[in-house]
């Protein structure tokens, strides 16, 4: 890949990753849906989106990044994960020199089952979760984006929870609380042979499909079909989701559908056109 030109990550027709017009009106809410597999972890992409929002551009990924925003005009991010503990994000964001007062990490992994799930009714669990998000969003200034990693695990953790309940009582209300919600999900279940067709499995699949329908952009991280390559970690496919872009201005903003190859190295990630 040494001879191939490195590319910048661009998601929308205004050449941006997170357009400013998403944050012009509180009444509009947009869902980003990042799907990945276990072999293509999305941390670098989450970091790039956090950078794009806090610093103004994903400087760790894009070469032609503009100068970072002044600390007073920086926005905030709430990151919540059901699969990684707090330090996972704090370490990587520290490396990118993002100040700790620009983000808040909600840890729904450590002691989560004992503290929040055991012996509680489904509705209570979901409403308590939502309250934690509400508190985190309200304690930060406006224009906060929320990143939630693997909320689908709740379907496995909470007995009898269906995809429609999870959507109606957690994901949709959460989306209404912020202008941009970034949902990160692991879609390994679609690749489990032919086929675990248990109700739980179809419940999970229904959740992914309904999330895709609600999202306006899908970022799809996949390993190469040919397996492993030394100079390519996987592919990132950017495509339209099932919903239109919601914004107050009438400019013709649209998703730029594209496919990148990405190479994750120890300290950096590079993108190339496929």
């Amino acid at each position: 890949m040494s001879g191939v030109q490195r590319q910048d990550l661009v998601l929308f027709s205004d050449q941006s990753v997170l357009p400013a017009q998403f944050f012009q009106d509180n009444d509009y809410h947009n869902l980003f849906f990042i799907t990945h597999q276990s072999s293509t972890q999305p941390l670098w992409l989450i970091n790039a989106l956090v950078e794009a929002h806090v610093l103004g551009s994903p400087s760790s990924l894009n070469e032609s990044s503009s100068s970072p925003l002044s600390s007073s005009s920086r926005s905030h991010v709430v990151i919540a994960s059901f699969i990684h503990e707090q330090n996972h994000f704090i370490h990587s964001l520290n490396k990118l020199k993002i100040a700790s007062n620009n983000y808040k990490v909600l840890d729904f992994l450590s002691d989560f089952i004992i503290k929040s799930i055991l012996n509680k009714p489904r509705d209570k669990i979901l409403s308590d979760l939502l309250t934690k998000f509400t508190a985190a969003i309200q304690n930060t200034p406006a224009n906060t984006i929320v990143i939630v990693e693997q909320p689908e695990l709740l379907l496995s953790l909470i007995n009898g929870l269906t995809y429609s309940e999870l959507n109606n009582k957690f994901i949709t209300p959460l989306l209404k609380q912020c202008q941009v919600l970034i949902m990160v999900s692991n879609t390994d279940i679609f690749n489990i042979g032919d086929f675990d067709s248990s109700p739980h499995c179809s419940n999970l699949q229904n959740f992914y499909k309904s999330s895709f329908v609600k999202s306006m952009i899908n970022l799809n991280l996949n390993p190469l079909k040919t397996g492993f390559a030394k100079d390519v970690t996987g592919s990132l496919r950017v495509c339209r989701g099932g919903s239109p872009i919601a914004s107050s201005s009438s400019t013709n903003l649209h998703v730029i559908e594209n496919e990148y190859l990405h190479l994750n190295e120890k300290e950096s990630t590079k993108l190339f056109y496929r």
Partner: protein, 309 residues
Amino acid sequence: MASSSHNPSILLKRILSLTESSPLILCLDSMAQTSYRLIHEFIHQNKSKGNECPVIYISFETVNMPSYCTHFIDATQMDFVHLVRQITSYLPSATATQTKKHMVVIDSINYISTDHITRFLSEIASVHCTMLATYHKDITDDDHVAIPGGNSNYPDKLALLQFMATTILDIDAMLVGSLDTEEVSELLSEFRIPRGLNNDIFQLRFMNKRKSGRSLEYDFMINSKSHEYELLLNNKQGEEDGGSGLETPEMLQGLTTFNLGTSNKQKLAKDQVALPFLEAQSFGQGGAIVYEYEKDDDYDEEDPYEDPF
């Protein structure tokens, strides 16, 4: 057989503008092509006809209130009884006369459980209301097993909806580039979403059930940007037309040096030719054989065996 008295494009436009009565319109969509562009076509056709009707939007999935809706109901936190009560409060009473037609958009009906679905639709249905319900085909109907009484012979949600709907709009993506249908469905089954889906141009299989019980089925290519609808001739329709539906003059060109095609004028003349068997059927009862003698015939009137009859 496709009706010759209906122009498919006009029928589709009449359905989209709610001019043609169709109480339940079912939009079957999928991840490859969701229904919001088609719902916009309904709104566009309504506006262009100048009969903008009130739109009641029942949302389970849509978070952003569409600009065209008159009432937006967030159904995510509502129980069934409350939801129905709220919808009916926005609708004119069934006995009212001369009220405007109302459109009820349901996004999406997957979220209403199978055991409630018939009650839900029948409580909203009235002569003044057209229901436009989106159903995601690729989301499975999990609550099917939970029907009271556990009757496994009870139809699933999609079968029920297809039975009740008076118009079914089955949406599919118009594939571009090297992708084919099989490849796309394989990619979607692995959740590797390909590019080029959810486009402004898409395919629509349009099925309209007539009052007589007959159903008309057409394939369209919809351009939601230019609002143009192009009828696609498919094999099924050709077969229904007696196989001749597919024959176009272009197919006969270059086969011989003769002109094998028929012009419209020739086709018309051909249709008007009275075929002999039709004339034969207009004879009265019985029959008669009339023999006219020619001058060389040798006929002896006294010989009884000479009479040819």
